[in-house]
């Protein structure tokens, strides 16, 4: 799923400074699961903003609303009946949802309340961890199911750098060395000999380096 963090409160407060009526728009997908921008977080942020503005004598009216998915044409129209009652939308979706809302309502100011960070997993209650960078050409079959692109700080394809110590990355002692994980997994699978295969320079075209990407399934299109 996509993981994000709510922006610092002061930054959001500063963004909404010019407005008296805002629509605070959450999303029930990934950003709810990572507890950053779901219905609950919408409620919390609305209360915080109202309190801070009341304290400054600058009351603010906030409509709280949470869409099933902000990134999907099927749901984005749900806010159409009332969006014009508000001066701005503060979106608590990921970067995709924020932009999708903005492109559907071109004359509306749409502000981000979330810093979108990574594609990852829930390791345990309250802990999320990066796993994928969407590079467009998966190599997990070669690397024991552990991604060197997303999980090695240098995205190295042919083994660990010289800074790997006791299974940890030199950049952060709390981060596992991806190549330690790869080697451990290859050993468990009885495939350590695979490590000796040279992996040539990656083609980054299918990644973002090839430009923004669009996927089309002609067979599913309605027109």
């Amino acid at each position: 799923m996509i993981v994000g963090n709510r922006k610092p409160f002061e930054e959001i407060l500063e963004m909404v400074k010019p407005f008296k009526k805002i629509l605070l728009l959450g999303c029930r997908e990934c950003i709810t699961v990572c507890a950053a921008g779901g219905e609950r977080e919408v409620g919390v942020l609305a209360s915080e903003l109202k309190m801070a503005r009341a304290k400054d004598g600058q009351e603010i009216e906030i409509k709280e609303f949470t869409l099933e998915r902000q990134c999907d044409y099927e749901f984005i129209d749900q806010i159409k009946p009332f969006i014009d009652d508000y001066e701005a939308v503060v979106s608590m979706a990921c970067g995709a949802g924020i932009q999708y809302t903005a492109e559907h309502y071109p004359s509306k100011i749409v502000l981000p309340a979330i810093n979108t960070t990574f594609l990852g997993v829930t390791l345990e209650q309250g802990v999320w961890s990066e796993r994928c960078q969407g590079c467009g050409e998966c190599v997990l079959h070669l690397t024991g199911g552990v991604c060197p692109v997303a999980r090695c700080a240098k995205s190295l394809f042919n083994g660990p750098c010289g800074g790997s110590a006791s299974g940890k990355c030199e950049v952060n002692k709390d981060t596992d060395c991806a190549w330690q994980l790869i080697v451990d997994r290859l050993k468990t699978l009885g495939q350590l000999d695979r490590y000796e295969d040279f992996i040539p320079a990656k083609d980054w075209k299918p990644s973002r380096d090839g430009g923004p990407r669009t996927r089309v399934r002609e067979d599913l299109r309605l027109c």
Binding site: S164, F198, A201
Partner: protein, 306 residues
């Protein structure tokens, strides 16, 4: 064969000596010459670091040329952190065109350690792929994109390896991959733990890698017990045994530098005896004036004519 001095000497069976020169944080060519003058006649080739520890310095390429003018055979260090395959290959061609004979292919320290931690890293290719790139350009006369070259870069190809980093068991395999990719000489991380280095060399010999690639053992003299402690605890992938720190602590503070040099000389003498070690790489970081003394005391002076 390339025009490389160390390739020629290694071919003749000479135990080679290399050292390194870190370019200055500024445009002062004199600073490079000053460091170079401390190494004149002491080494067979000199590495020039490429923005080491991700701190911006004069480029390795430019500093190599300054040292070449002084009569050195510079080793151009090239990291994958700052340039993509287009820029790397372009610099390889330029370096070879201007008479640089050696290249050391590295991944590069992560930028978070340096003076621009907010910079974006590149890592388009890794060090292993860079080795393969240089080899492809030199031996096949083409770029990795396939385009043919007019004039091949005739470079002696090297790499670095840290025998002390984890996972230890694949460290020799990793060198094997580098050799397969085209690595001809290897400089190791500074060695303080001789026993562990010995084990690594055993794995290297078992695979016959020492015959395909010249292993130059890396050493760095310790200035004090404090520096030894710092290296042990704060430099990733560094293995400094406690006995060494105790030995330095055992002498008065003002004598610790002298003791550090002594330890370094003893280390070189022991390394020379290890089968497969074909040279030594003395990295006296910001202490270049000690390289001559160390080489002399280790019986590595004078050097053969370049």
């Amino acid at each position: 064969m390339t025009q490389s001095n160390i390739e020629r000497l290694l071919e003749k069976g000479v135990f080679v000596v290399t050292s390194e020169c870190g370019p200055p944080k500024g445009a002062d060519a004199e600073a490079v010459r000053k460091k170079g003058s401390l190494l004149k006649g002491v080494v067979d080739a000199v590495n020039v670091t490429d923005n080491q520890t991700s701190v911006v310095r004069m480029s390795s390429f430019a500093s190599c040329l300054i040292l070449k003018e002084m009569g050195f055979d510079p080793i151009l260090q090239m990291v994958c952190r700052d340039r993509n395959r287009i820029a790397l290959q372009s610099d390889i061609l330029g370096a070879a065109a201007l008479g640089i004979n050696n290249i050391l292919c590295l991944s590069g320290d992560h930028q978070s350690f340096g003076d621009h931690p907010g910079g974006k890293n590149v890592f388009d290719i890794d060090s292993m792929q860079l080795i393969n790139t240089v080899r492809t350009m030199r031996d096949e006369g083409r770029l990795i994109g396939g385009e043919e070259l007019k004039g091949r870069p005739n470079l002696f190809i090297g790499a670095a390896e840290n025998p002390f980093a984890d996972p230890f068991e694949i460290r020799a395999m990793r060198l094997g991959k580098k050799v397969k990719a085209g690595c001809q000489f290897l400089q190791t991380q500074c060695i303080y733990n001789l026993e562990k280095f010995g084990k690594w060399m055993e794995m290297v010999r078992e695979r016959g890698l020492h015959e395909k690639c010249a292993i130059l053992a890396g050493v760095t003299p310790l200035k004090s017990a404090g520096m030894a402690r710092y290296m042990k605890t704060s430099v990733p992938g560094m293995d400094v045994p406690e006995e060494l720190i105790d030995r330095l602590k055992g002498v008065p503070k003002e004598k610790q530098a002298e003791e550090g040099v002594k330890i370094c000389v003893e280390m070189i003498q022991q390394l020379k005896e290890i089968p497969g070690v074909r040279g030594v790489h003395i990295m006296a970081i910001e202490w270049e004036e000690k390289v001559a003394e160390i080489a002399e005391a280790a019986g590595l002076s004078p050097r053969p004519e370049a």
